[in-house]
């Protein structure tokens, strides 16, 4: 790994339900600049995520400087994003976009320990842009596909991140299969087809 040229990390697709269950972070080399990964409960490492949801609330929680918190909701839960002076583009977007609005976010997972000792996970956004509902729906289906891919290989013996997930999380992955079904069932396209059958 350390000999390879630095390559851009892929942006994982993960629903809020699963993302918020994650808490364990790790590096794969001793290099100070080695990427930091969040371990996803379905057995994958995430240095970057991409998601699309509804910005429902935003608050400038900074004291001296602007520091924006945004709540971005997908069909399974809520992503929390934080953008301050070191994420100027994302901070500007949060300042300007009026909720409710569909937004697409690329960013890095961050964990922090709360006062009661539990680990919370949030996203430090690299970009936030306003998009339309078609893109949100495409993301839901894409994220469902990627999550199913991870679930299908979770029991493979050679799946090192799945073993790592078993070791660090005591969570039944069936939860995430249900989250996938819930997310898909929430789409208008699916409802429309069900209506068609009933009629």
């Amino acid at each position: 790994m350390s000999n390879a040229a630095p390559t851009r990390e892929v942006a994982q697709r993960v629903f809020a339900r699963e993302f918020n269950d994650a808490s364990y972070t790790f590096k794969e080399s001793d290099d100070e600049r080695a990427p930091l990964y969040l371990l996803l409960p379905t057995g994958a490492r995430a240095n970057r995520v991409f998601f699309v949801g509804t910005l429902t609330e935003k608050n400038d929680v900074g004291e001296d400087n602007e520091y924006w918190q945004g709540r971005i909701v997908d069909p399974t839960g809520t992503f929390f994003v934080y953008a301050g002076q070191y994420q100027p583009e994302a901070a500007t977007a949060l300042r300007e976009i009026e909720p409710p609005a569909y937004v697409a976010v690329a960013g890095k997972p961050r964990t922090y320990e709360t006062d009661d000792g539990s680990i919370n996970v949030s996203i430090r956004p690299e970009s936030i842009t306003e998009v339309d509902v078609g893109i949100r729906d495409r993301w839901v289906v894409e994220t469902a596909e990627r999550t199913i891919d991870r679930l299908k290989t979770f029991d493979d013996e050679a799946n090192e991140y799945a073993s790592m997930a078993r070791e660090h999380y005591d969570l039944p992955v069936e939860n995430y299969r249900q989250a996938v079904a819930t997310a898909l069932e929430s789409l208008d396209e699916i409802e429309a087809e069900d209506d068609g059958i009933e009629a």
Partner: protein, 310 residues
């Protein structure tokens, strides 16, 4: 520039590695044959070339040009400064970026496609899109891992009767546009002949401070959650992608006294959307010839069935 001078320079160039012969000297020799002895220019050229071959103790194959080149497939071109012959169809003509370029575009053969450049000073016939040609004596070139061929005034061009089939080396990628990298938006390129490097603070890495020419470009990253693919959108595909045309971009930059507003606007318009892009791959990049924005999901029902079947 006279024809004789052109031939003379070409011959001098061919022998530049073997004899210290000047273009003037060659021209004198040619002039004697053509003007005094009324020999046709082609024949004079052959005769003078043979004279210098004798002088240098070389065979015709030993010198660049002269018809002894290796004929190559376009996809075989993998080094710069080689003299080769190719047979190819002109698949696409592009807008020359500078007056020094007469024609620029894409050649194709069964192995793939390759950029070509024809200089205004080369004095060659005008090439037409869709026509197949044999090119003798073209020089290969490389820039940032991308290869091309340059036509020059010694290049022989013959139109072919049979049409050359063009292999498709374009690849198709799709995904969300998750990043637009530095060096995107309204940029300035070096105006020096054949350079086109992007200027940094008004400076070209090769030619120093120059008066650059405006262009549009996006270096973007498509990500489908499994792999990332860097993509370069040229002026045309950037305009198509963003709906912002070069003139409008210049106006935006002028109004704001800042060129970065253009890239900012492009980010707002495109980041987070899904695209399908196809084009040839050069080094790490796919060059976007075709761009399609992807809308809503096509078959969510199939995914739901998959989810329920685990």
């Amino acid at each position: 520039m006279s024809d004789l001078r052109n031939h003379a320079e070409a011959i001098a160039e061919q022998f530049s590695e073997h004899l210290g012969v000047s273009a003037e000297e060659v021209e004198d020799r040619l002039a004697t044959l053509v003007e005094e002895y009324k020999i046709p220019a082609d024949e004079a050229r052959r005769s003078v070339t043979n004279h210098y071959l004798d002088q240098a103790g070389l065979e015709r194959e030993d010198i660049s040009g002269g018809g002894g080149n290796r004929q190559v497939q376009l996809a075989e071109v993998d080094a710069a400064d080689e003299w080769v012959d190719v047979e190819a169809k002109l698949v696409d003509l592009w807008e020359p970026r500078s007056d020094s370029i007469d024609q620029v575009g894409l050649l194709g053969d069964p192995s793939g496609t390759l950029k070509f450049t024809k200089w205004a000073t080369s004095d060659l016939p005008t090439l037409s899109e869709g026509v197949s040609y044999r090119f003798e004596n073209v020089v290969t070139d490389e820039y940032e891992g991308r290869y091309s061929v340059k036509l020059n005034r010694t290049t022989g061009i013959t139109e072919l009767d049979e049409e050359i089939e063009v292999g498709d080396d374009a690849i198709e990628v799709d995904g969300a546009l998750v990043d637009i990298q530095r060096g995107s938006g309204l940029i300035k390129r070096c105006p020096e002949e054949g350079c086109t490097r992007v200027l940094q603070n008004g400076r070209c890495a090769e030619h120093g401070e120059v008066d650059g020419e405006f262009d549009l470009r996006i270096k973007g990253v498509l990500d489908d959650g499994l792999v990332v693919q860097e993509v370069i959108f040229d002026k045309e595909s950037t305009e198509e992608l963003t709906g912002i045309e070069l003139e409008e971009a210049k106006q935006m930059a002028m109004d704001a006294l800042d060129t970065t507003v253009v890239a900012d606007e492009m980010r707002t318009e495109t980041l987070g959307r899904y695209y399908r892009v196809s084009g040839p791959k050069y080094g790490r990049y796919v060059l976007a010839d075709e761009v399609e924005e992807l809308g809503g999901p096509t078959d969510p029902e199939a995914t739901l069935i998959r989810a329920r079947s685990i």
